[in-house]
């Protein structure tokens, strides 16, 4: 990882930390107890976009994999090599019957299947930071696509 990307990820980590502090101070206790200011909305959006950006980087074979303790691939392949713009993921169709697993699966299970099979990586925690980031990026990429669950 070069200096610039390290800087970007340090800033991202710092933003996430600030977001977490904000959440502790103003979140669970006072959520929706008063009208949101524009700076509240901006802070929410910033926190969300930081996760999306991390997911984008992870999806394209970069990002803080080492820091997160994840191995998304051992073949050099990245998610985006089969899914440019996260296309062909079809997040709007999950949960659905997934032929590879012979069961109705959610998007996160499918992400793990891809990590383990084509990428030959190590599957990640279903609620892990990396998983949420990947999901966030995939969903962000499809904003505006009509939800169509169960479709093969």
């Amino acid at each position: 990882m070069n200096k610039n990307s390290t800087k970007v990820w340090t800033m991202a980590a710092a933003s996430l930390f600030v977001g977490a502090v904000l959440l502790i101070l103003t979140g669970p206790v006072s959520a929706h107890k008063k009208n949101h200011s524009s700076s509240d909305i901006q802070a929410f959006d910033d926190a969300y976009m930081d996760v999306v950006k991390m997911g984008d980087a992870l999806f394209h074979g970069g990002g803080p994999q080492k820091e997160l303790g994840v191995t998304l691939t051992k073949t050099g392949m990245a998610c985006a090599m089969c899914h440019p713009f996260a296309s062909d993921v079809h997040p709007h169709q999950f949960p659905k019957f997934q032929e590879q697993m012979s069961e109705v699966a959610g998007l996160r299970e499918m992400i793990n299947w891809c990590i383990e099979k084509p990428n030959e990586g190590v599957k990640i925690g279903i609620d892990s930071e990396a998983m949420i980031a990947l999901e966030a990026y995939i969903m962000w990429s499809h904003k505006g696509t009509v939800i169509d669950p169960g479709t093969h």
Binding site: K53, D56, A57, M81, F85, S87, F97
Partner: protein, 375 residues
């Protein structure tokens, strides 16, 4: 990006009208063969059989005699220490071609994944398994680490043209003319290559194109060719506008079509898209070839209506959805293109099995990370 932008996909309006079609002696037929698909997994145990099209056959009446050649592209080799999956598949293709002994083989670019010397040298060594004459055009993955220096040293320069048995073959370089996206940002060669490596990246911009100098060369090269001579243009990228965000085009396609307009029998054979594609614009037909490495999904828009899409592939099977192509010219039948897709049948019969229908209607956004100024 959900709908086709009327200005961006203007080719059918400009060039696809009733004024001009490929040579009227050309006909397209599709051979069929028995398709066997077993649905597995324990829950559904059933077998379906049907006659599905396998081979696109394009008949061109003017070919003087028989020529058979093989196309391989998009091997995307990594060093063997990292990944032998792509090496295995390229080896299989080269072995099959050597057994076939065609008149020649064309390698259509993207031999390497990161343009690394180790990858290009590995490819060079593997290509020794093919003893028939070999011709080369580069892909972007071969080029942007050292701006094509090692590629050209190993595999020669382009453009080039050759007349073989009455057919005029042209090899073009559609990758080496990217606008300079690296100097102002002081990118290292690895960073420059990294942006080129991501198909859906936006930093490298509309990098695919012939450029003015090569357009002038093409114009001049074709001037000595009779208007009804069969012409085959080998390119890495398609010579029409399919999906610019992934450089499934050349940015100067209008100029290319203007140059080939007087010629009635032009075929563009291209790689880069890693999928079955067929299109006709004006007097030129384009045939998209398989990769040996992995298949790209069909783009959410712009797939030519004349394309019979290939079947949705199994991501758990590295040999599915990939392969190479055998192309044969005969004086009786013209061009036969046969996709040698491994492990599966080629074409989809129903929308549900086709990547095209599957991806239509998606609303997709370009990468967010590209918008972060890191330099």
């Amino acid at each position: 990006m959900g709908k086709v932008h009327p200005d961006r996909l203007e080719m059918h309006k400009v060039l696809g009208g009733k004024k001009q079609k490929p040579d009227n002696t050309v006909s397209i037929s599709r051979r069929t063969f028995l398709h066997k698909s077993i649905i597995s997994g324990g829950v559904v145990g059933a077998a379906t059989y049907g006659w599905w099209p396998l081979i696109n056959t394009v008949d061109i009446a003017h070919a003087a005699s028989n020529i058979r050649f093989a196309w391989v592209s998009d091997t995307h080799l990594y060093p063997k220490t990292l990944n032998t999956r792509f090496v295995d598949k390229a080896e299989r293709a080269f072995k099959e071609i050597e057994a076939m002994k065609p008149d020649f083989m064309i390698f259509g670019g993207d031999l390497a994944q990161k343009g690394d010397p180790e990858e290009l040298i590995l490819g060079e060594q593997m290509l020794r398994a093919v003893t028939v004459p070999k011709h080369f055009i580069p892909g972007e993955h071969d080029w942007y680490l050292d701006m094509g220096k090692l590629w050209e040293k190993k595999f020669g320069g382009s453009p080039w043209s050759k007349d073989i048995k009455g057919v005029h073959f042209v090899g073009l370089n559609t990758v080496g003319q990217a606008p300079d996206y690296w100097s102002a940002k002081k990118m290292t060669p690895t960073e420059r290559m990294g942006h080129m490596e991501a198909l859906d990246g936006s930093v490298a911009g509309p990098w695919a194109g012939l450029g003015q100098e090569q357009l002038e060369w093409l114009d001049s090269d074709l001037r000595s060719v009779k208007k009804n001579t069969p012409i085959v243009l080998f390119t890495h990228n398609p010579l029409y506008e399919y999906y610019p965000p992934w450089n499934f085009w050349v940015r100067d396609w209008r100029e290319v079509h203007e140059i080939v307009k007087p010629y009635s029998n032009v075929t563009n054979v291209h790689g880069h898209t890693h999928q079955v594609l067929y299109n006709e614009i004006g007097g030129m037909r384009s045939i998209g070839m398989l990769a040996t490495s992995w298949p790209w999904p069909y783009a959410p828009e712009g797939v030519p209506k004349m394309t019979v899409p290939h079947v949705r592939v199994d991501p758990g099977d590295p040999f599915d959805g990939v392969g190479w192509s055998e192309i044969e010219y005969t004086s009786q039948k013209g061009i036969d293109t046969e996709y040698k897709m491994w492990d599966r049948d080629v074409f989809a019969k129903a929308t549900v099995d086709a990547g095209t229908g599957d991806n239509t209607g998606l609303t997709l956004r370009s990468r967010v990370v590209d918008k972060i100024w890191q330099y």
